[in-house]
C-alpha cells in the first residue's frame, strides 16, 4: 500500500467523504485520521490523488 499524507483531514466527516469516494471507484484503501494518512494500493495512487483533489483535499506522497 502507498501512503498519502492528507493534512486537511480533520474529523470523521472527512473520513466518511474520502471513504465513500474511494469505495465508489473500487479503490482499496485504509484511513488513519490521527496520522492524517490515507493508504491506497499502488496502482491507484494517481486516481486517488485526483479523487482527493475533487473532495477538496491536497494529498502528497
Amino acid at each position: 500500500m502507498k501512503t498519502l499524507k492528507v493534512e486537511e483531514m480533520h474529523c470523521m466527516n472527512c473520513v466518511n467523504r474520502i471513504s465513500s469516494a474511494l469505495k465508489a471507484e473500487a479503490i482499496e484503501f485504509e484511513i488513519k485520521l490521527e496520522e492524517k494518512i490515507v493508504r491506497v494500493d499502488p496502482e491507484n495512487v494517481e486516481r486517488a490523488i485526483d479523487l482527493l483533489d475533487d473532495l477538496g483535499f491536497t494529498a502528497s506522497q
Binding site: E8, M9, H10, C11, M12, N13, C14, V15, N16, R17, S19, S20, A21, E30, I31, K32, L33, E34, D54, L55, G56, F57, T58
Partner: protein, 750 residues
C-alpha cells in the same frame, strides 16, 4: 461577474468549509468563494461566461456535500437573512427536543416496569406482564419499549460503528457498543426465559435505552448551549436592517438593503438603524453605537462624520452616502471575527481532542479485560456483560469534548458584547499569560490627533508657508496638524515642491520653485542636515519638557523657526495603566518621540518603563527584546504603523475607531477607544482559561472516579457495582456541569 449564495449541506467543521472553498475556487472564472460555516452558506462571485450555477453545484456534490442556490431577493446587504438562518437552526433543535421527549417517555416507562418494584415495594404491575407469572411477556414488553429509544438515537450506532470499523473509535463508539451489548444480550436472554424463567431478572433492555436517552440529553444540551453561546453572532446579524430609504434626486423610496451600492445616498431618520457604512453628507443627529463600542452614550454626527451600519439613530435626520456594503462593512468584519474565534481551535482544545482519541481505545481495552477477568474468576456471563457495558458508558468522554469549546464560545461572545473582539481561541488562550503590555504612544495612549500649540519664529507666515507646502505632501499626523494650523492662519495654497523625500520618522525635504532646499522635521533631523538651530535650543527643550513634539522648518541652511505640536493624552489612559498594572502586567510606553517628551507623557499616565526615540522600523525589535527576556508580550497599537510590532508580539492588540480597524493584522481588536479594555481582555482570557481547566478537571474526574468502580474494583470488599444506567446518568451529569460552568462565564464582570 455574478454573485450567488448557496446553502451547503453536509458540512461539520472548518475542514469541510475549507474543502468547499478549495474546490469551488478551482472552477474557471471564480473570483471569490467564501463559506460561512455556522450558517452553512457559500457566497461565490464568478464570471458567468466561464462557469455556471450547475458547474458550482456539481463541483460541490462531487466533494461530498449538497448545494442549493438561495434566491438573492430578500437577503440583507450583509449577505445573510438573520431571521431565516436562526429559524432553520431552531427547527432542528425543536425536532431534537421532540425526539428527546419521546425517548424519555419510553425510557421512563421501561425503567418503571423493570425497576419499579425495587424502588417501591408492591409496585403494581398487571398480572399479564408480571415477571413472576408471565416472564416472557415482561421481557417482550421491555424490548418493545426499548426499540423506539434506540431508533431515535440511531445516529450513535451509525457513527459509532462506522468509526470503529475505520479504526478510529470515538465517543459514539462507546455508547454504541454499550447499548448494543446490553440490548443483544437481553434479546438472547429473552429466548432463554421459557426454559429459565429467573433470567427475566437479568435483562438489561432498560440499560440500553437509558444509556441512549441520557447521552441524547447530553447532546441536546450541547446543541442548545452552542445556540445560546452563538447568540453573539445571531445578535450581531440581527442588527442588519433589511430595508433602507434610498434618496434618488428628489424622490425617496424604500428598497432592499442588498440593492444599495457604494455611492448611493440613504436617509436615516430618528429611531431607525443605519443600513450600511457611510459618511454623512447632510443633516445632523446622534447615533447610538453601542453594538460596536458597548458605550450607550449617543455620539453626535454631522456633515463629514462616519457612521457604521447597524448602529441606531437616536435623533435628527441624516443623509448618508454609502461607502461599504456586503462583506466589506464593519459589522460583517466583526461577525467574521467572532465566527473565526469560535471556529479555530485553541491549543488546549486540540489537546483535549488528542487525549480523547487515545482515551477511547484504552477504555475499550479496560472494558474487555475487566469483563474477561471477572468471567475467569468464576462470575457468570451476565455479570461480565454488566461490567463491560458499565465501563464503556461511564468512560464516555462527552464532557471532555465539550469542556473547551463551550468556554471559548461563551468567552469570545462575552468579549464581543463588550467591544473586545478576539480573533481565535489561540489568542484567547495566549492572552492570559501576558506579562508585559507595550503601548504605542501616538493614537494609543494619546488621541492621535495632534494640534499645533506653539509657533516660534520671527516671521510666522514664512515659517508656516514653507511648513504647509512640505507637510501637505505627507500623511503623518504631525503633518496634518501643521496643515490644519496653516489653514487657520489663512494659508491654503501650497508652493510647488520638487524632489520631495520622506526620511522615515525624522523629517521631510524638497526643493521650492526657486530651487532652494526646504526642510521640516525633528531637531535631530535638522542637525543631520547641517541646519543651525542653536538659537532655538532653549525653546526646544522647554517644549519637549512639556511633552510636546518639536518640528523645525528651514530654508536652505537657515532655520525659519520651530512649531510645537501636542497630542492630547486620552482621558482613560491613566486609569487604564492602573488597571493593567493591578492585574500584574508591566506597562511599557514605546515611542519615537524624544526622551523628555516621552517621560512627560509617561509620568502623566503612570507607565512602568519608557522606550523612547525608537524609529517605526525598530518597534518590532523592542518587542523581541522583551520576548528574549522571557516575557509574554502584548503590543497595543493603532494597527497601522505598528503592524510589524503587532505581528511580532505574542498578542497584537489593535485599538481604534470602528471604521479604521486593521482587523486582519491584530489578534484582539478593541472597538472602544478605551485602554481599560486591555485589562478587560486579559481578565477575560484568564477567566476563560480558568473555566476550561475547571471543565477539564470535572470531565476527567467523573471518568477517573467512575471507571474503577465500573470495573468492579470495589465489589470484592464492599459489594459495590456501577450499573450501566447509573453510569449513563453520571456521564450526562458531567456534560450538564461542564456546559453550565461555561455559561456562568456570561455573568462575569470584566
Amino acid at each position: 461577474m455574478k454573485k450567488e449564495v448557496y446553502d451547503i449541506g453536509g458540512m461539520h467543521c472548518a475542514a469541510c468549509s475549507s474543502a468547499v472553498e478549495r474546490v469551488t475556487r478551482k472552477l474557471p472564472g471564480v473570483e471569490s468563494s467564501d463559506v460561512n460555516l455556522p450558517l452553512n452558506r457559500l457566497t461565490i462571485t464568478y464570471d458567468e461566461d466561464k462557469t455556471s450555477s450547475q458547474d458550482i453545484i456539481s463541483k460541490i456534490e462531487r466533494a461530498g456535500f449538497s448545494a442549493k442556490i438561495r434566491p438573492i431577493e430578500g437577503k440583507s446587504s450583509f449577505g445573510v437573512s438573520p431571521a431565516t438562518s436562526s429559524a432553520s437552526e431552531e427547527v432542528s433543535l425543536l425536532q431534537e427536543k421532540r425526539s428527546l421527549v419521546t425517548s424519555a417517555i419510553f425510557a421512563g416507562l421501561l425503567l418503571a416496569l423493570s425497576m419499579g418494584h425495587m424502588i417501591i415495594p408492591g409496585f403494581p404491575v398487571p398480572d399479564i406482564i408480571s415477571s413472576d407469572t408471565h416472564p416472557v411477556n415482561m421481557a417482550i414488553l421491555q424490548m418493545i419499549l426499548a426499540i423506539p429509544v434506540l431508533f431515535l438515537g440511531r445516529r450513535f450506532f451509525t457513527r459509532g460503528f462506522s468509526s470503529l470499523f475505520r479504526g478510529n473509535p470515538n465517543m459514539d463508539t462507546l455508547v454504541a457498543l454499550s447499548a448494543s451489548a446490553s440490548f443483544i444480550y437481553s434479546l438472547v436472554t429473552t429466548f432463554l426465559i421459557t426454559d429459565s424463567p429467573h433470567l427475566v431478572h437479568n435483562l438489561y433492555f432498560e440499560s440500553s435505552a437509558v444509556v441512549v436517552a441520557f447521552v441524547s440529553v447530553g447532546k441536546y444540551m450541547e446543541a442548545n448551549s452552542k445556540e445560546k453561546t452563538k447568540g453573539a453572532i445571531t445578535k450581531l446579524m440581527e442588527l442588519a436592517p433589511e430595508t433602507a430609504i434610498l434618496v434618488d434626486e428628489d424622490a425617496q423610496k424604500e428598497v432592499s438593503s442588498s440593492s444599495i451600492r457604494p455611492g448611493d445616498i440613504v436617509l436615516v431618520k430618528a429611531g431607525a438603524r443605519v443600513p450600511l457604512d457611510g459618511i454623512v453628507v447632510s443633516g445632523s443627529g446622534s447615533i447610538n453605537e453601542a453594538m460596536l463600542t458597548g458605550e450607550s452614550m449617543p455620539v453626535a454626527k454631522g456633515e463629514g462624520s462616519e457612521v457604521i451600519g447597524g448602529s441606531v439613530s437616536v435623533d435628527g435626520v441624516l443623509y448618508v452616502k454609502v461607502t461599504r456594503t456586503g462583506d466589506d462593512t464593519v459589522l460583517s468584519q466583526i461577525i467574521r471575527f467572532v465566527e473565526d474565534a469560535q471556529e479555530k481551535k485553541a491549543p488546549i482544545s486540540r489537546l483535549a481532542d488528542k487525549v480523547s482519541g487515545v482515551f477511547v481505545p484504552i477504555v475499550m481495552a479496560i472494558a474487555v479485560v475487566a469483563a474477561a477477568i471477572w468471567f475467569i474468576v468464576g462470575k457468570d456471563f451476565f455479570f461480565a456483560i454488566k461490567i463491560f457495558t458499565s465501563v464503556l458508558v461511564i468512560a464516555c468522554p462527552c464532557a471532555m469534548g465539550l469542556a473547551t469549546p463551550t468556554a471559548i464560545i461563551v468567552g469570545t461572545g462575552l468579549g464581543a458584547s463588550r467591544g473586545i473582539l478576539i480573533r481565535s481561541g489561540e489568542a484567547l488562550e495566549t492572552a492570559h499569560k501576558v506579562s508585559v503590555a507595550i503601548l504605542d504612544k501616538t493614537g494609543t495612549i494619546t488621541e492621535g490627533s495632534p494640534i499645533v500649540t506653539d509657533i516660534i519664529s520671527d516671521d510666522q507666515d514664512a515659517l508656516m508657508q514653507v511648513g504647509f507646502s512640505l507637510e501637505s505632501l505627507s500623511e503623518h499626523p504631525l503633518a496634518k496638524a501643521v496643515c490644519s494650523a496653516s489653514n487657520e492662519m489663512g494659508i491654503s495654497e501650497a508652493e510647488p515642491i520638487t524632489g520631495f523625500e520622506n526620511v522615515g520618522g525624522r523629517g521631510v525635504s524638497g526643493f521650492n520653485a526657486d530651487g532652494s532646499r526646504v526642510l521640516a522635521g525633528s531637531p535631530t533631523f535638522m542637525k543631520e542636515m547641517g541646519v543651525d538651530i542653536s538659537q532655538h535650543e532653549k525653546d526646544i527643550k522647554s517644549l519637549q519638557g512639556m511633552g510636546k513634539t518639536v518640528i523645525c522648518v528651514a530654508l536652505d541652511d537657515t532655520s525659519l523657526g520651530i512649531i510645537g505640536v501636542s497630542d492630547q493624552v486620552r482621558q482613560s489612559s491613566r486609569l487604564s495603566m492602573e488597571r493593567i498594572k493591578s492585574i500584574g502586567i508591566k506597562t511599557v510606553l514605546l515611542t519615537g518621540d524624544n526622551r523628555a517628551a516621552a517621560e512627560h507623557i509617561g509620568d502623566i499616565v503612570g507607565v512602568d518603563e519608557i522606550v523612547a526615540e525608537v524609529l517605526p522600523t525598530e518597534k518590532a525589535n523592542v518587542v523581541k527584546r522583551y520576548q528574549d527576556g522571557g516575557e509574554i508580550v502584548m503590543m497595543v497599537g493603532d494597527g497601522i504603523n505598528d503592524a510589524p510590532a503587532l505581528a511580532c508580539a505574542d498578542i497584537g492588540c489593535a485599538i481604534g475607531s470602528g471604521s479604521d480597524i486593521a482587523i486582519d493584522s491584530a489578534d484582539i481588536v478593541l472597538m472602544n477607544s478605551d485602554l481599560c479594555d486591555v485589562a478587560r481582555a486579559i481578565t477575560l482570557s484568564r477567566l476563560t482559561i480558568r473555566t476550561i481547566k475547571q471543565n477539564l478537571f470535572w470531565a476527567f474526574f467523573y471518568n477517573v472516579l467512575g471507571i474503577p468502580i465500573a470495573t468492579g474494583a470495589l465489589y470484592p470488599s464492599f459489594g459495590i457495582l456501577l450499573s450501566p444506567m447509573v453510569g449513563a446518568f453520571a456521564m450526562s451529569l458531567s456534560s450538564l456541569f461542564v456546559v453550565s460552568n461555561a455559561l456562568r462565564l456570561r455573568r462575569k464582570e470584566i
